[in-house]
């Protein structure tokens, strides 16, 4: 059965300061309900790719389309499309001057102009699900990294995005907090949330993804189902990369 394609990029090229190309030629499409994990060595352009999808970075050439509509960074409708593409970043970047509830409600209140009471109910339900209902009136500084990151996910979900982009959301966390965050993402995947995830957690990638993109030097080097990619990678570069995660006993 053919699923609906909701996000595509064609021949995306991107450089910083007109120097070396960070993204050389990215063509990509994402189906509704699909979870794509992007892996690759540092500096391969995977974070840049994600940032381009949300129009946080200008692109040099190529196109990005959301449901057959070409999106551009400088156009007015960038704001309306961004509402449908949620993003969570590596640094748990909650707004420090607002409470947890304030953080979560800001965008739905100001952008979608929804009813406050209804929003509070929805926020409380989501906070309960990630186990943080008792923190709703706390300030971000009173939370641990893992808790902040779970709030950041809830904040993104409150906008009812059709796609969620997760940019190394556990990279800045202490190891024991990684699981509590990834658990939330796994549940979202189970519920059918469409996601593009950049991560260095290979076990998690294997568990959560429908498809894996392996990037190196601004290109997709290999693409495949997680069970194939992680057990028998085809390219030499991917084999090398996956080997760095294995340790031999001394």
């Amino acid at each position: 059965m053919k699923q609906e394609v909701i996000l595509t990029t064609k021949n995306l090229k991107k450089s910083y300061d007109n120097e070396q190309l960070v993204l050389k030629d990215m063509s990509f499409s994402l189906e509704k309900g699909e979870v794509v994990v992007v892996v690759g060595p540092s500096g391969c352009g995977k974070s840049t790719f994600l940032r381009c999808l949300n129009m946080l970075e200008p692109i040099d050439s190529g196109t990005i389309s959301f449901k057959d509509q070409v999106i551009e960074r400088d156009r007015k409708d960038a704001y309306t499309i961004r509402q449908k593409i949620g993003m969570v970043f590596q640094s748990y970047d909650l707004f420090p001057h607002l409470t947890i509830l304030g953080n979560i409600l800001l965008a739905p209140l100001k952008v979608q102009k929804r009813e406050k009471q209804e929003l509070i109910q929805e926020a409380e339900q989501l906070l309960k699900r990630v186990g943080l209902l008792d923190k709703k009136d706390a300030y971000p500084r009173q939370l641990s990294g893992g808790q902040k990151q779970r709030v950041a996910i809830v904040r993104a979900l409150m906008m009812h995005p059709e796609i969620l982009l997760l940019d190394e959301i556990t990279a800045a966390l202490d190891p024991e907090m990684v699981r509590e965050v990834l658990q939330v993402v796994l549940e979202l995947a189970k519920e059918g949330m469409t996601m593009v995830i950049v991560t260095h957690e290979m076990e998690f990638a294997k568990a959560v993804s429908d498809r894996v993109l392996f990037m190196d030097q601004g290109l997709v080097v290999e693409e495949g189902k997680p069970e194939d990619f992680f057990t028998s990678p085809q390219t030499e570069r991917a084999k090398q990369f996956l080997n760095t995660f294995h340790y031999e006993a001394i």
Binding site: V22, S42, G43, G45, K46, S47, T48, L50, R51, N54, L56, Y79, T80, R82, Q83, I85, G86, M87, F89, Q90, S91, Y92, D93, L94, F95, P96, H97, L106, A107, K110, V111, Q112, Y139, P140, R141, R155, A156, M159, D167, E168, A172, V198
Partner: protein
């Protein structure tokens, strides 16, 4: 020390302190508005206005207030613009203070990490909404210490206003010295008057600074991905 003389002249000082306070208040209020507008022009890098604001800030910060006042009081009338002593004082203070306030706010705004803007944008907020609801509250909190220091600096600067015949504290003290030659008493009262104005403001500022410390926390220093 002639305490009888001091007691007798208290009302004179109280009246003068009133003028000093009024000028300070209006001047600082205007400075804040000018500063906020100028910092916005600089932060949003508005083309032509940006250049004008830069010129203003350099002129204002690199000339003494006394010279600025002389220009307003003696120079402008030659161009057909006549300001009262009070008008001169307020305009002069606002002209000087505006640039200091602009720099205070600009630093505050620039200290908010870029990721905060990106997070706001990715939630679908417009640039202006991001500025209003996310950047500005944090920027104000970080600007508070410099803002407070500026207030105290500007109130102290008002002591040059007697040069344009404004009957402020300094003016009254100089007057008393000139008429009665009671230098010690007049200066003692002058210092006391300034302390009575500035100490409470200074204490209030420290209190406010402690209240807004939240802005120092919760910010992550991590940089966005490459």
């Amino acid at each position: 020390m002639d305490f009888e003389f001091i007691r007798g002249n208290v009302p004179l000082y109280v009246e003068a302190a009133g003028i000093t306070l009024r000028i300070s208040f209006l001047g600082i209020l205007l400075s804040t508005v000018i500063g906020l507008l100028c910092s916005l022009v600089k932060v949003f890098k508005i083309p032509v206005l940006g250049f004008v604001v830069n010129c203003y800030i350099e002129i204002s910060r690199n000339t003494p207030l006394l010279i600025q006042l002389f220009f307003l009081y003696f120079g402008l009338p030659k161009l057909g613009i006549v300001l009262s002593s009070e008008g001169c004082a307020i305009t002069g203070l606002a002209f000087l203070g505006g640039s200091y306030m602009a720099e205070a706010f600009r630093t505050g705004i620039e200290q908010v990490p870029k990721i905060q803007t990106e997070t706001g944008l990715s939630l679908g907020l417009t640039k202006w909404q991001v500025f209003l609801h996310i950047i500005l509250p944090q920027a104000i909190a970080t600007s508070v210490p410099v803002f407070c220091a500026n207030i105290i600096f500007l109130i102290k600067e008002t002591s040059v206003f007697s040069a344009v015949a404004l009957a402020d504290l300094m003016f009254v003290a100089k007057d008393l010295i000139g008429i009665y030659y009671k230098t010690d008493e007049a200066l003692f009262m002058l210092v006391t008057a300034y302390l009575m104005i500035l100490l409470p403001i200074s204490l209030l500022c420290s209190w406010v600074e402690r209240r807004v410390r939240y802005a120092e926390f919760g910010n992550s220093s991590a940089v966005p991905g490459k």
